[in-house]
C-alpha cells in the first residue's frame, strides 16, 4: 500500500486536473458564501460572537474533566447509560455487543462523523447487521461505497445525473434530473428503514454538561426520526463536544447554522436527555451514550494546538480553503477534510504519516478568518510542519537544512554560492521544465524565478558607498 503522503500526491494531482469537478465544487459553494455572509451580517456583532464562542469552548476544554463528570452524572440520573471509550476498538466493541444483546436486525443511522472516524458501519456490517445511513447525502455516498466528501455536505461532488444513475441501479428508480424527485425516492426508501429499525445511532453536535443532554443540529429530520422510533438510541460523540450550560446553545445554535450552511438556524435543533420518561408517550426505551477519546486527550495535552478542540465541525474552513476547493474532499484520505482535518489528523493518527497535509497549504489564513470559534488553523499547519521536522525530518530535510544553515552563516561563502548559481542559471535555462532539468521537481509545475541582475548585497553596498 502506498503511504498516505504519496497517495495524497497522486489523488490531488488527478483532481486538480479535473476541471469539471473543480467547477462543480466552486458552483456548489457560491450559494453558500452569499447566504453565510448575509446571515453573519444579521448578527449585531459577529466578531464578538466569535470571541464569546471561543471563550465558552475554552472554558469547557480547560475544565473538561469536571464537565464530563457532570454530563455523565446528569444523564445517568435520567436513565441513560454512558460508556467511555479510549479508542475506536472499544467504541465499536461496545456498540456491537449492544446490537447483539438487543438482537437488532436493522440499524438506522443519522449523520455522525465520529462513526466514520471509528469505521462503525464496516464493523456492524461485517458482524451481519444491516445498517442504513439516513441523511440524504450520507445515504448517497453509502450506496456508492464512498466516504463522505465533506463533513457537512457529504455528496457535494456528485451531479444529479450521477445520483439518478445510482438510484436507478440500486433502488430501481425511474431516471430523472429533478432533485426533488430524487429526494422523494430516498425519502420513501428510508421511511421503511426507520419503521423497521430496532436501533438508531446518532451523533451529537453539543453535549450540555449542566443538564446532561445532547444537542443535534440537522435539516432533514432524519436524526429526529432516528432518535424517536427505534427502541434503542445510541449516541456517539467525542469528548470535546461539551458545553458548560444549556443557555450556551442560544449562541452556538445560530453560529453553527450560519457558519455551516448559511442558515439562521437549521430546521431542527433537538435536545435529547435520556430515554422516554414515565409521562411521555413514545421514544426509545434505552439511551446509550458513547464518549470517545481516540486521540483527543493527545490534542488536549498540546497546549499550543488544543484550541482545535473548540471545533464545532461546521465545515466553514473547508468551504473557503483554496486547497480543498481544488483537490476536493476525497484526496485527503481522512475522516475530517480541509484545514481542520490537516491540523488534527496528525494528532489522531500520527504525525509522521499525516504531516504532508500540513504542507498542502498556501498558509493564506482564510480558514482562521472564517472559523466561528477562532481556531488558529493556519498557524497550526505551520507548527505541524515544524514538529514533523523536529521529530524526524527526512534525510533530505536534515542534510539540506544543515547545509543551508552552514552556507548562510558564512557571508563570504554565501556570496560565492550566489555567484556560482548565477553562472549556473543560463545552463539550467537550456533544459528548463524538461525532465533533464536538475531542478525538475520544482519546474514541472512552477516557473523558476530568474536572478536579479544585482543582488540585494550589491544594492546595499552601492547605497552605503
Amino acid at each position: 500500500m502506498p503511504s498516505a503522503a504519496s497517495q495524497f500526491n497522486t489523488d490531488a494531482t488527478r483532481m486538480v486536473a479535473d476541471l469539471g469537478h473543480r467547477q462543480m465544487v466552486q458552483l456548489s459553494l457560491s450559494g453558500y458564501q452569499k447566504a453565510r455572509t448575509g446571515n453573519a451580517n444579521r448578527f449585531q456583532d459577529w466578531e464578538s460572537a466569535r470571541s464569546r464562542a471561543a471563550a465558552i469552548k475554552d472554558e469547557a476544554i480547560l475544565h473538561l474533566d469536571r464537565y464530563l463528570e457532570q454530563f455523565e452524572e446528569k444523564l445517568v440520573a435520567r436513565g441513560a447509560k454512558v460508556f467511555w471509550a479510549n479508542d475506536a476498538v472499544e467504541a465499536r466493541a461496545y456498540i456491537l455487543d449492544l446490537a447483539r444483546a438487543k438482537q437488532a436486525r436493522a440499524i438506522v443511522k443519522s449523520k455522525t462523523m465520529v462513526s466514520e472516524e471509528i469505521h462503525l458501519n464496516e464493523a456492524l456490517e461485517k458482524a451481519g447487521f444491516q445498517v442504513v445511513e439516513s441523511d440524504l447525502g450520507e445515504f448517497i455516498v453509502q450506496l456508492r461505497h464512498e466516504p463522505p466528501y465533506h463533513i457537512v455536505f457529504p455528496a457535494m461532488h456528485l451531479t444529479r445525473g450521477q445520483i439518478s444513475d445510482l438510484f436507478q441501479q440500486k433502488l430501481g428508480a425511474a431516471p430523472t434530473s429533478d432533485p426533488e424527485a430524487l429526494t422523494m425516492t430516498a425519502r420513501k426508501a428510508l421511511r421503511q428503514a426507520y419503521l423497521a429499525a430496532d436501533m438508531g445511532i446518532t451523533g451529537a453536535n453539543f453535549a450540555v454538561a449542566e443538564t446532561g443532554m445532547i444537542s443535534i443540529t440537522e435539516n432533514e429530520g432524519n436524526a429526529r426520526l432516528t432518535s424517536a422510533l427505534p427502541k434503542t438510541h445510541v449516541v456517539l460523540l467525542g469528548i470535546e463536544k461539551i458545553l458548560p450550560r444549556l443557555a450556551d446553545l442560544s449562541l452556538f445554535l445560530p453560529m453553527l447554522a450560519t457558519a455551516g450552511t448559511g442558515q439562521q438556524l437549521t430546521c431542527y435543533n433537538s435536545l435529547v436527555g435520556g430515554p422516554r420518561s414515565l409521562e411521555e408517550i413514545d421514544g426509545p426505551e434505552e439511551m446509550h451514550v458513547v464518549l470517545l477519546d481516540n486521540g483527543r486527550t493527545r490534542l488536549l495535552a498540546d497546549a499550543e494546538q488544543r484550541d482545535s478542540l473548540r471545533c464545532i465541525r461546521c465545515g466553514a474552513c473547508l468551504n473557503v480553503c483554496p486547497i480543498f476547493r481544488n483537490v476536493g474532499g476525497h484526496a485527503y484520505g481522512t475522516t475530517y477534510q480541509g484545514p481542520i482535518g490537516s491540523v488534527i489528523t496528525p494528532h489522531l493518527r500520527g504525525l509522521q504519516s499525516w504531516q504532508h497535509l500540513s504542507q498542502a497549504s498556501s498558509l493564506c489564513g482564510a480558514c482562521t478568518e472564517t472559523c466561528p470559534v477562532k481556531i488558529d488553523l493556519h498557524h497550526h499547519l505551520l507548527q505541524n510542519r515544524r514538529n514533523g521536522v523536529a521529530e524526524k525530518g527526512s534525510p533530505f530535510q536534515q542534510i539540506g537544512f544543515k547545509a543551508f544553515a552552514f552556507v548562510v552563516n558564512r557571508p563570504r561563502l554565501f556570496g560565492f554560492a550566489v555567484q556560482a548559481m548565477k553562472c549556473f542559471a543560463p545552463l539550467q535555462r537550456l533544459f528548463d521544465a524538461t525532465p533533464a532539468d536538475p531542478v525538475w521537481p520544482w519546474t514541472k509545475s512552477r516557473v523558476l524565478p530568474s536572478f536579479a541582475r544585482k543582488s540585494f548585497r550589491d544594492l546595499w553596498k552601492q547605497r552605503t558607498t
Partner: protein, 265 residues
C-alpha cells in the same frame, strides 16, 4: 483502571500542562514565536486571546451579553409578530394568525379542504380535539398505544408547543407539549397551535423559559423547529420534505398576551 477513569486521568494529566508537543520533543529548530513560551503562559494566552473581558464576564452576564451579539429583535409585541411572520415567509412556514378559537376551527377546516387531508392525529385528551370538531375526517388520538405505522399514514399531525421565537421564526416544542417525539415529525404536514402569549423574543428567552418551566425535570426530548424539513444535498438545490414534514403551519391564537395555551397541564 476502567475506561472512564483512564480517560479522566489523561484529561487531567493533559490539563496540568507541560506535555505539549514542544516539551515532548525538545526545543525545535527555528522560531515559531510561541515555542519558547512556557505552556502555562500559552494556555492563559489562548484563553485571553479570545478576548479577556468577554471570557471573564460571559459566565456571569448570561443572556445580556449574548443578546448584544445575536440578531436584533423589536421590543414590542406587534414588532415581534411581524418579525416572526417575516421569518416564516423566508422559511416557507405557513403562518396563520387567528382572533379566537372559532377562527382557528374555521382555519383548520379550510386547511383540511385545501390539502385534501384524509386523517389527522393529535395528542389524546388535549384541547385540540375540540378545535377539530367540525372536521369530518378520520381522527387519531395519539397515546402510548399508537402504532407508529398508523401515525406514518396520517395526513397531518397537530400539536401544541412551548414557545414561538420571533428572532428565528422557530417553534419550540417538547415530548410533552408536542404529544411525544414522533407526532411532529412523522406525518407529512405538521400544524402547530400556539397562543399569542407564547411568543418570545429570542433564543435566550426561549432557554430561560425552558429552565423556568421544567428544570430540573426536563422532558427527555425538546426541539426547535425552524421551517419544514429540507435538504440541499443534491447539487445544493433546496428541496422541502426530506424526511420530516413537507409542510409546516403555525396557527397563532389571539392578540398580545392573549390566546389559549394548548398542551399545558
Amino acid at each position: 483502571m476502567n475506561t472512564r477513569d483512564s480517560i479522566l486521568a489523561r484529561v487531567r494529566e493533559a490539563l496540568r500542562g507541560s506535555t505539549g508537543h514542544s516539551a515532548r520533543h525538545g526545543e525545535p529548530q527555528g522560531d515559531l514565536s510561541s515555542h519558547s513560551i512556557p505552556e502555562e503562559e500559552l494556555l492563559r494566552r489562548s484563553v485571553a486571546e479570545a478576548d479577556t473581558a468577554e471570557s471573564e464576564v460571559h459566565a456571569t452576564d448570561g443572556s445580556i451579553g449574548v443578546r448584544r451579539v445575536l440578531p436584533k429583535v423589536p421590543d414590542d409585541f406587534a414588532g415581534q409578530v411581524a418579525l416572526f411572520a417575516e421569518r416564516c415567509d423566508s422559511l416557507k412556514t405557513e403562518f396563520l394568525p387567528c382572533a379566537d378559537d372559532a377562527a382557528v376551527s374555521a382555519q383548520l377546516k379550510l386547511l383540511s379542504d385545501r390539502e385534501g387531508w384524509e386523517s389527522v392525529a393529535f395528542p389524546a385528551s388535549s384541547e385540540i380535539g375540540a378545535l377539530l370538531a367540525n372536521l369530518s375526517i378520520a381522527k387519531l388520538e395519539v397515546s402510548r398505544s399508537t402504532v407508529k405505522t398508523d401515525l406514518e399514514k396520517v395526513s397531518a399531525g397537530i400539536t401544541g408547543c412551548d414557545a414561538l421565537i420571533a428572532q428565528t421564526g422557530s417553534v419550540l416544542l417538547t415530548a410533552i407539549s408536542g404529544g411525544g417525539r414522533a407526532l411532529s415529525v412523522l406525518p407529512g404536514h405538521h400544524v402547530v397551535i400556539a397562543s399569542a402569549s407564547q411568543l418570545v423574543s429570542d433564543l435566550p428567552a426561549a432557554f430561560e423559559l425552558l429552565e423556568r418551566k421544567y428544570a430540573p425535570n426536563f422532558p427527555s426530548f425538546m426541539t426547535f423547529i425552524t421551517g419544514p424539513s429540507r435538504t440541499g444535498d443534491i447539487e445544493r438545490v433546496l428541496v422541502l420534505g426530506a424526511h420530516g414534514p413537507r409542510k409546516l403551519t403555525v396557527v397563532l391564537i389571539g392578540g398580545e398576551g392573549g390566546g389559549k395555551v394548548i398542551g399545558e397541564k
